[in-house]
Amino acid sequence: MPYEPVLLARINKPDSPKLEGYRADGGYSTFERALVDLKPEQVVAQVKDSGLRGRGGAGFPCGLKWTFLPKDHPGPIYLCVNADESEPCTYNNRILMEKDPHQVLEGVMLACYAIKSRKAFFYVRYEYGDAFRTLTAAVNELYAAGLLGENILGSGFNLDIVLHRGAGAYICGEETGLIESLEGKRAWPRIKPPFPAIEGAFRKPTIVNNVETLACVTQVMKRGIDWFKSLGVPPDPKNPRDAGSYGPKLYTIAGHVNEPKCVELPMGITITDLIEQHGGGVWKGRKAKAANPGGLSMGFVRADEFHMPLDFNGPGRFQCLGLGTAAVTVIDDQTSMVDVLHNTCQFFAHESCGQCTPCREGTGWMEKITDRLRRGQGRKEDLDILIDVADRIGIMPGTTICGLADGAGWPVKTAIRKFREEFEGAIKSGEKSKYAKTLRVVGAH
């Protein structure tokens, strides 16, 4: 039986972003019930027991994160909504915010009730102008309906949601970078600990949650733990540290497929099934050569690895960094991996915030070396130098404050290890790649 979408159930309905339509579909009844029937601790417990893991990339258990807040804190406690979705090839948060903002906002309200926050800062990346305007209209509807503000529905619970726009920086998706940016400073990630739950925005306890995670909170509270756990992949019994991959997931498909789109499926679909059953197959009747399984930071897989399940464990077994954002980008067999890797390195060099020297310099070196490769001037030792640099930058080797550098290194390591012959061939032949001459960018920023 085909899976019936829940998170995306409303996106094709007319006026799906409007409060009236959302309420007609039973919207905000979960929040209203929680205000009356549940204590905040019960909401935390239900989300924790559902096994919901963060959808932003790291997969940290959401309810568990909430329990890290200090007990009986006098406040204020803040919720920051991470809508700085900037991981290349990822767009599921945009669809949720543009098409069904109230589902996300109900999750924000439930989360704030659970963590006893009176104020949520909703940080939206600048590029999502339409999402920002849709959210602004939705928040205004909520104030007019008495669902936000003072003493909501006579419950004594107060909540304000402040929408905040970014200014085009990938690093603001890192949770402490986001907090610094929100505070009006350069978005330099903070050294942890203290983690935001102890000392976050404006030096107060703060929870940072992703947009899709909060939409899942709405559904977990509405449909219950059993429903959530009926979907996805249970924990691996051989791995005591595995928290499982329960629930629905928004997968996005991009690149060389016939129908790039966002689909909702239970966790654990394979790349092959995603391409064939949902992406309309590889475009132009070609074959796939590689894919990026979860946003660029996660690395690359070869076509013979497409049976990889897209849950929290699968990508790690294929040398990828993790599930990431579950954004699958397909690369066809006529594309040069040299060009693909250069594009990747160019992105991270551009988006490194410059705080930690190994990342600032390392991402720049990797961009320069891959640029040399695509211009046919690669040297024999370049591939090993690239892997060496990639291995030495990041929080795993312990040389940087945040994970951007790990994300910059992973695609380099996986691309070179999995497509070494192609890279060596390019160096030996000295041929320029397709894009060697293009994109000499002036006025780069």
Binding site: A169, N343, F347
Partner: protein
């Protein structure tokens, strides 16, 4: 005589009660000024700093970090046209599209046409991968941009 009008200053001040600290209004203030004046001059930074009880260097520190804002001596055109160069767009012709737009407009990325109508930019992934290659017209997505569609768009923006 300052560069920020009273109405612009009032709109900046209106953000202050939303945040626990005035410094948090730095980005909203920069956006308001940048949208209206198409640049954030040194004088504008001083005036923002006055409103937010900051040192001008704090505003400058934040502003220059984002590289999004045009500073002293630079000015945005009427419309800012961003062409995405992210991987999903590159795979579907973004580099060709950037070259096409540069030729068509006679400017490189980061520059403004002499008539002041269009500032061309490249963007890192703008999350429009289901409509790659994608562009942003200021902050609105335009999807599946072929060179023909880009020509039409540019024609409309030039009018």
């Amino acid at each position: 005589m300052g560069v920020l009008s009273e109405s612009l200053k009032d709109r900046i001040r209106a953000y202050i009660p939303k945040y626990p600290r005035k410094q948090a209004v730095t980005l909203p203030a920069l956006h308001l000024v940048h949208d209206e004046l198409r640049t954030v001059s040194n004088e504008a930074m001083v005036e923002i700093a006055e409103i937010l009880d900051l040192h001008p260097s704090e505003v400058q520190d934040t502003m220059t970090f984002y590289a999004f804002f045009k500073g002293e001596g630079e000015k945005l055109g009427q419309t800012r046209l961003w062409v995405c160069r992210g991987l999903a767009c590159m795979l579907r012709g973004a580099y060709e599209l950037i070259e096409h737009c540069e030729k068509k407009l006679g400017v490189h990325c980061g520059q403004t046409t002499p008539d002041g109508k269009i500032t061309l930019e490249f963007a890192e992934c703008i999350g429009g991968c289901d409509g790659a290659p994608a562009c942003l017209m200021d902050d609105k997505h335009v999807m599946n941009v072929t060179p023909e569609k880009a020509d039409k768009l540019i024609g409309e923006l030039r009018q």
